[in-house]
Amino acid sequence: MTQTYRPDTPEQVAELITWAVAEATPLDLIGHGTKADIGRPSNTAHRLDLSGIAGIVDYAPNELVMTARAGTPLSEIRTALDEAGQMLAFEPPDWRALLGQPDGPDDPPGTLGGLVATNLSGPRRLSAGAARDHVLGVQGVSGRGEPFKSGGRVVKNVTGFDLSKLMTGSFGTLAALTELSLKVVPRPEETRTVLIHGATDPAAMEVMSLGLRSPHEVSGACHLPADVAARSAVPGIREAARGVTALRVEGPEPSVVWRRDALRNELAGWGPTDALDGPDSATLWREVRDARLIADPPEAQVWRLSVPPMSGARVVRAVEQAAPGAVLSVLFDWGGGLVWLALAPAPDAHVSAVRAAVEHHGGGHATLIRAGRDARARAAGFHPSPPALEALSRRVKESFDPAGILGPGRMAEGR
């Protein structure tokens, strides 16, 4: 029988994991479960629900650090940060529409621990860093049932191994996180977005690279091919009926105005330019962050690829050539380095075409974000590692979870 255990304290988490080790009972760790269907499907019967370990522990806006328990709802974190005019710089995505979960204008569900465990970042990843760059310290209970901590509550810290980074993105396979300290930053005073219309995918890689190589401190660079642009809620993008490349600048008013104009001038040779501010700009970056524009049709299988930025369009072309007709829609973020691919459904989600394309164009990784259970199992979900690295990852897993009870098989076969 499937059981979900929902402890209220870190001590109870330690007791539960100790018990699970003794009983050889594997546990899947969850917060609100919003990302439970990403990557490899789980075959674990029991769940350890950490959403009861909740609450902001310490938040002094002047220190730009927030400490909260792992189960704290992101909505609570966001509210507290909003009140102080601050934010999580890495733009946590809201994948409700993408993953077919109940969607709406309200604050999405999700916990801080779930966000850290999955290391998901939005468009500002390219300038501000990923979730992993903002985790300053962690407390958790490893698969040995032992509570431990790493890092601290200050930004500059090299005391001991940086286990906080290892925990970030480990999908609950090394430890149950109970408390996290994150670096937070003030919200930018102003935001402007420059649009360049009509660039082909390969040209858009150049345009984004030029923007990112300029001195204008671009904090977001995405490209929407024409069919994807047509789905945008922003009228100036939807109605243009061509591909749109967008560059975002943030900061004090005089600075963003100057940089917007400079970018428009410098990139004018690549196509007609336009600019967005206020709500339209915010809407576009939300659509990109959340991969909403490629969410339809719901049966499409969705891959998320991280590649060298200039390789983005080439990787897509390689997938199209290897699997003719499979590519339904594409969205480029991170200056071309993040490729969202919506593919026509196939039993193996076109895994070999996708992975070969990544390998042949400078390396990187591809993760199957949305597909049925069988396809996710066949496609292995997360990008496989070469043998020496896989063996090392296995030893790392065993060092934290020797009995293999935390999310076994969640990230890779057999670990």
């Binding site: 018990w19 760059d133 431990f148 001991g160 003030p186 190589r213 600075s255």
Partner: protein, 495 residues
């Protein structure tokens, strides 16, 4: 400094080991001559010295791999070494270990402006990366004060920082990929020109692992476009409280300077006497705040910083009007360590980090300690991110001054932890802070770190005696006590 008991068997085999290594690394790649070895007996923490067993200087990844495999099979320890600029004794040799120098790995392999990254061998200096791309308008952001000499591989091993890391992050935030060799000689590649790992963030733990996990043979870093403009504001305050309050307000208002540094009175005077930067001498604290970016932004933010400084009672305020003047503002700060070196035969440079709000209290307590230990102390401080560099002045030739200086330093670091900070912000634990790890971490915390070490290097051949106060065998660390029985906590909610 207590180091692990050397393996007499290995020392006895020194000649044979050297002969074998000479076969693996032909030419001038192996140093056995005792006078030549002395050049490697310490790093920049020169209070601790130990000639290495042998030094080997390979020039290819293949050679590093065969040396590691040989040492692994023959039970010989390895101390990896970059440029030897560690301030924490990270590259301090061991009597029974081969020092593996990466100095011959000095080539930049790929400058990829379109993807905004550089691929370099680990022995390339930090500054050489910027030099290689500056004609195209780019630079590498982390700028440790040893950047002329320190190597990029060493920067990765120590997760080096610098003045610019307030805005642009430490090494870990600017690193895209590494090629690393395990002690077995196996090659693993982590990251690349893309962002984020596809599995566990092993690059994240390798960065700052102080040579305990592997030997880095290639590094990919991101480069940034040089800002259009940079200007600095020099602000003098009658007391450290008002300087600290100004720092807090600058940060809280959402201004992220490219650098925000503080110096106290002894540091100001030492620096001024040395480089004549025209610092005000009648102030208790000096702030240097540099802003970079588009001209429009810099002008806008400089005005705001000036207003904040005036509001907090600054008695001296100057904005640089040229790059030469900005460089002069920085000259004193950048020369602070050698400047202090001129006024004292020896000094220790400490490296704790504290929450910014604790600064005035910590400075007061340090002044009190200075009196109690009878040793002078000058403070330079990466104020924007709370990273303190107290310089403890002593004379090693005066009986017991070294011991008093060590005790003074330890007390400062314990104070940093006590107020919610950490032992080291950017210099690393090495041997210097090794025995203080227990003030920040308990045995279980440390065991989790040491088990990670075991996953990378089960035989514990890489840089033993650094970072961890106690060496435990991996088998002992890995043992897990399993208490059997039924579910003992009926009170946990289940669904």
């Amino acid at each position: 400094m207590r180091m692990p008991e050397p393996d007499a068997g290995v020392i006895a085999r020194r000649v044979a080991i050297a002969r074998d290594l000479q076969r693996l690394v032909p030419g001038e790649g192996v140093i056995v001559d005792e006078d030549a070895l002395r050049a490697y007996e310490c790093d920049a923490l020169s209070a601790y010295r130990q000639p290495p067993l042998i030094v080997v200087l390979p020039s290819t990844t293949e050679q590093v791999s065969t040396v590691l495999r040989y040492c692994h099979e023959n039970g010989v320890k390895i101390v990896p070494r970059g440029a030897g600029t560690s301030l924490s004794g990270g590259a301090l040799p061991l009597a029974d270990a081969v020092t593996l120098g990466l100095g011959k790995f000095n080539r930049i392999l790929d400058i990829d402006i379109s993807n905004r990254c550089v691929v370099a061998q680990p022995g390339v200096t930090n500054l050489a990366i910027t030099t290689a791309v500056q004609d195209q308008g780019f630079y590498y952001a982390p700028d440790p004060s040893s950047q002329i000499a320190c190597s990029i591989g060493g920067n990765v091993a120590e997760n080096a920082g610098g003045v610019h890391c307030l805005k642009y992050g430490l090494t870990t935030n600017n690193l895209l990929g590494v090629e690393m060799l395990l002690m077995t000689g196996e090659v693993v590649r982590l990251g690349g020109k893309h962002l984020d790992p596809g599995g566990y963030d092993l690059m994240g733990v390798v960065t700052g692992s102080e040579g305990l996990l592997g030997v880095i043979t290639e590094v990919t870093v991101r480069i940034l476009r040089a800002p259009e403009t940079a200007r600095a504001v020099l602000m003098g305050f009658p007391d450290t409280e008002s300087a600290a309050a100004t720092v807090a307000e600058i940060i809280a208002r959402g201004i992220i300077p490219a650098g925000l540094e503080m110096m106290d009175k002894p540091a100001i005077h030492a620096a001024e006497d040395f480089v004549h930067a025209d610092y005000p001498l009648d102030v208790a604290a000096l702030l240097i705040c540099e802003l970079d970016g588009p001209e429009a932004e810099v002008t806008h933010l400089i005005a705001r910083v000036e207003a904040l400084a005036t509001g907090n009672g600054a008695t001296s305020l100057r904005v640089s009007t040229s790059d030469a003047e900005r460089a002069l503002f920085w000259a004193g700060r950048k020369a602070a360590f050698p400047a202090v070196g001129r006024i004292s035969p020896d000094y220790f440079c400490m490296d704790g980090t504290i929450p910014r709000h604790a600064l005035p209290a910590v400075l007061t307590r340090m002044a009190e300690m200075s009196t109690r230990y009878g040793l002078r102390c000058a403070n330079v401080f990466h104020a924007g991110d709370g990273n303190l560099h107290p310089l403890i002045l002593f004379d090693a030739n005066v009986p017991d001054e070294l011991e008093r200086a060590e005790a003074f330093g330890a007390e400062i670091l314990k104070l940093c932890v006590e107020v919610g900070g950490v032992l080291t912000g950017e210099h690393g634990v090495g041997v210097e802070k090794r025995d203080l790890m227990g003030t920040m971490f308990n045995e279980i915390d440390l065991a989790h770190q040491q088990r990670l070490k075991c996953a990378f290097d089960p035989g514990q051949f890489l840089n033993p005696g650094k970072v961890f106060p106690t060496l435990h065998r991996c088998a002992e660390l890995g043992r897990m006590q399993i208490s059997g029985g039924s579910m003992p906590f009926p009170d946990i909610p289940r669904f």
